[in-house]
Amino acid sequence: MQATLSKRINELLVLAVLERGPAHGYQIALSVEERTEGAFSFQHGTLYPILHRLETDGHVRGKWGGEGRRRKTYELTDDGRAELAAGAAQLERQFRVLLELFAGTHAA
């Protein structure tokens, strides 16, 4: 459950960053860290399996570019946009339930 939720959050974080425009892997990692104020960060290249999985699933599109030297840029697809909206809504529901539960615990 924990691994699944964490994996899901990581995927949605990447999609959320790419919603602002295409980015390289390192830009995505930096952007996630900045936008979440350090609450989330990707270490040791853990971003690559996430990006490659999202690419295989059709949620992002990887494009090789660069002159003389290849560099990969990722961009969000329409499928990815829909996935982000659905995923964000689902997470919101889950967290609302969790927060209500925790609020109850504190009150007690």
């Binding site: 390289h24 040791h44 690559y48 490659h52 030297r69």
Partner: protein, 255 residues
Amino acid sequence: MRPEHPLADVERSLAVPPRRRLDLLEEVDADTEALQAELERRGYGPAQARRAALRQTVPGTETLAQLEAQHAPPLNRWARRTGWIDRAERLGIVVATGLAGAVAFTTILRSGPLGSAAVLAWLQVIVVALLAANWTRAAKHLWVAGDLRPDLRRQLWERQIGLVVLAVALGALGAAWEGYSAYEALAAEDFAVPAIGDAVRRIVSCAALGFGAAIFGLFGWLAITPRLISDETIERRISAFFTGSRLTPTSSTRR
């Protein structure tokens, strides 16, 4: 001694097809360089920025395992799912060896009594089976593991060629043996025509068996050659990548 490139370990341990390996190396390399530049802009010193960038981008063991699972060939994924991954090579070898051996066995039976060279003909069955086993091993690495490294490829090719040469030699030896034995028998029978026909048939059978085994070995390898060539081309690009990478190998990056 020249220090290793920071991604050399990744290249060595990542068991995926060369195309995928090259893509990942180029992606990580470009990201590391860009991240290093970004960190330098934020006030890090060059060495400190490089170390930090490498720590961020170079995939660790667990990540490499995930990447391997993601980029494995479809046959590999199926074998993992069904639990056949550990048995795939052995099963392939048993099936290919059994089939090849059965074909060679049937050929010998159909060609009739081989006379004094029969021992050599039966040795051919073993050679054919070994050729099939060697080929299966190469095919397993290419289509199940997805990764046949140059050293192993060379080793398997040398074994295949050695077996082909052995098959030809056994065929030639068998034919010579039959010829020699037949000559003595024919001389005793004043070279009667039916006896000559029988002797020629035996000689040709032995030679054909050796030739057939050699063709089987060579054509088997020929069938996987296109994939070997394309893999080798990419392996050369991987070598060029390590030579041309701007991510200079220094001992300070290996931590």
